[in-house]
Amino acid sequence: MFCREAGDFKTSYEQDNQTFPIKFDRYRYYAVLVAAFAVVPFFINDYWVNAVFLPFLIYSIAAIGLNILVGYCGQVSLGTGGFMAVGAYASYKLMTAFPEVSIFFHVILAGGVTSIVCVLFGLPSLRIKGFYLAVATLAAQFFLVWLFNRVGWFYNYSASGQITAPERSVFGVAITGAANPPWSAYLFCLVFTVAAAIIARNLTRGTVGRKWMAIRDMDIAAEIIGVNPLKAKLTAFAVSGFFVGISGALFFAVYLGAVEVGEAFGINKSFLVLFMVIIGGLGSIFGSFAGAAFLVLLPVLLKNTLVGGLGWPTDLAAHLEFIIVGALIIIFLIAEPHGLAQLWRVAKEKLRLWPFPH
């Protein structure tokens, strides 16, 4: 009833193969894009940008990156925090070494650097699987954080070991630094998020993605039907690293402006992004967004409701927030082990038949 597919006929392969073959889905997707690009920038202030939109968009990119690795290729990674740190430090070194180059390219290059690092740490995946690979990537997490804390070159030998993003602009509008208008940082991140989602969606629908999924489902069978595990696994690490690196660069340069590697990119970050992917739904681009929204927006909403709305003490609210978010994670995973994306699919299925389910 609500989700109509009847009468939506395709007369060419192009039409049949488009990203959103159902007209209703497609229009909703366009509507979201229009709202995000043309409506939101006019209505946001510093608070909405810095507390809601930037973290959501940036974590979405990280979740998409990790979802490619874990959800599509089946290679468990606990190194996301470390790889985000690579993106952040790469963008910092690039920003300070080449101030005349646009930050747009710095962010992309930072993604490239992370992609290379990620492939290096992905090499063990050819020999080890599952939990053992998780431990290997955990080593990457600790090694990278240690490296950025230890070697002065990465933070330009600053006294405190902090890295601070200098002010950079695109088309004359400040993006990083504190003087930027709220909409510029938002649009900058939005462009990267949308691009990441489109690229990831199309990669996963094509040959590369099918190879990843074949490896995920059964690597020996995949090898027998002609999938090269070396190429498939390493491309997954490369693409995943690229997105995670971009998210790390944006996280540092646009969102926080100054970071300290141990605090901003610690093991907690790896788990947070992994939870986003698991709660959102493994192997789903929409799931990455849903998971990021769940874990970024829910705490902010709870805090504002409990402290701002009900006037409870802040410590009580902070503790309750942990309890509520934790309980919701458990409930969601029991009720729907395949995440929010599956919940969404089931809801659509039900709506399609409603009100005549039989």
């Binding site: 405190s160 402290v307 709305g309 802040t314 410590d315």
Partner: protein
């Protein structure tokens, strides 16, 4: 019902409701997480002092203070969220006191752009002492580099002025906070000829076995500590375990509160910590505090922290903020000041003995005067020592000044680097 709930939630999302009071002070506290044990007393002291002013004097200059608390959990992301959520509260927040070096680094560019003063009392970016570069940041009365110098001066005094060839280890929180004193200590080690051994401890600092094993092997003459939160308790316990002489173990002022030494029991007796304000609760102000705040049931938190080291420090921070507000009110002749006027008040703040005695806090902190060039005070501090039997820290020295020769050079160098990096033209 559902509709109503949704609108209520949406309304709650749209930042908290505007406040009625005129002077808005934000307390970015942390009462949760691994640093909560230290965040709670500081926040309680900070809030209680403003509550006292509201209850006893009806605010400052006739204007009530609206205190907004925001929980950061010592986490930089939440710190940013707090800052953005509260900066426009009421007539605009007057001052931020984040009590976290990490959050300070993030707020420095933001407050400079928004024009809100940031007071980082005894923490944060040390070179913010240079007011010509850091116009909106203040770190009076003392900073980390002063602290490093105080510790070395104290060791010099104990050794008759000669520490050539001595070994001094620094156990530090491996973050911006802990790394701050290293450069000063390196300069001081060149000047006085001692050997400096660096031992980083990673967040949150519950695991320090290897560091203390190394101390046991190196046998340093003195150990300095830059720790915070749970790291302090663990370090003191580990020092006890290797039987390191407690009187040779000196912590920065953030590593010297009751909850750091108490877990180690009597063995922690003799542990030293620096401080830039006085300790205990033997002050006339505390009588008022008990009468108007604690006994009236208006104390922040559980109300059981009155007189502890960090409570005093939070109260001292609030007192300095209140005095700056008074100064600003006198300067501009208005009772409702804005953030820019608050900055003027801070920049012209002068703390004298007479002023402190009048407030009921005689001899509570060092005398200092803030100027446009110097946002960091004169660098006076003292050494306190833990008396386990009495259960309190006691001052064992007078206030003494840090090695200004070395520190001024470092401040000038670091602030010039910041000015070049961020395109600030120094000037008053």
């Amino acid at each position: 019902m559902k509709q109503r709930l949704m609108t209520a939630l949406a309304a709650a999302m749209l930042v908290a409701s505007p406040a009625l009071a005129e002077l808005t002070i934000v307390d970015t506290s942390y009462r949760t997480g691994p640093y909560g044990a230290n965040g709670i007393p500081f926040s309680d002291g900070y809030q209680d002092y403003f509550t006292l002013l509201n209850e006893r004097d009806g605010g400052i200059g006739g204007e009530k203070i609206n205190l907004v608390e925001c929980e950061t959990g010592y986490n930089t992301e939440k710190g940013v969220e707090c800052y953005e959520a509260t900066k426009a509260e009421g007539n605009g927040a007057l001052i931020y006191q984040p009590l976290s070096t990490g959050i300070t680094y993030q707020l420095i560019p933001k407050v400079s752009a928004d024009g809100i003063p940031l007071h980082t009392m005894g923490y944060g970016r040390t070179s913010a002492k240079n007011g010509e570069v850091f116009k909106w940041v203040f770190n009076y009365p003392a900073n980390y580099w002063d602290g490093a110098s105080h510790a070395i001066t104290h060791i010099l005094d104990l050794n008759g002025g000669d520490i050539n060839g001595k070994k001094i280890s620094l156990v530090y929180h491996n973050s911006a906070y802990g790394k701050e004193p290293i450069r000063t200590l390196e300069e001081l080690s060149k000047k006085h000829g001692f050997e400096l051994i660096l031992l980083p401890v990673d967040h949150p600092g519950q695991e320090q076995k290897s560091q203390w094993l190394q101390i046991r092997r190196d046998r340093p003459d003195y150990v300095l500590m830059w720790g915070w939160g749970v790291m302090n308790q663990v370090a003191i316990q580990e020092a006890v375990n290797i039987r390191f002489p407690m009187e040779n173990f000196i912590g920065i002022w953030w590593s010297g509160s009751e909850n750091d030494v108490k877990p180690a029991g009597d063995a922690a007796n003799g542990y030293k910590a620096l401080t830039f304000h006085n300790l205990g609760d033997e002050y006339p102000l505390y009588d008022d505090m008990r009468k108007y705040v604690v006994d009236a049931g208006k104390a922040a938190g559980a109300g059981d922290q009155v007189g502890s080291v960090l409570y005093n420090r939070g109260m001292y921070a609030a007192m300095l903020a209140a005095e700056a507000i008074k100064t600003a009110q006198e300067m501009h002749g208005v009772s409702v000041i804005n953030a820019a006027q608050m900055r003027d008040g801070m920049e012209n703040l002068e703390m004298t003995e007479a002023k402190m005695a009048e407030l009921g806090l005689p001899n509570f902190g060092p005398e200092f005067k803030v100027t446009c060039q110097n946002h960091g005070g004169n660098g006076y501090g003292a050494v306190s020592q833990w008396d386990a039997a009495a259960g309190e820290f006691k001052l064992i020295t007078d206030y003494f000044q840090s090695d200004q020769e070395i520190i001024s050079a470092l401040v000038a160098e670091d602030s010039a680097a910041f000015a070049a990096e961020s395109g600030v033209t120094p000037g008053c």
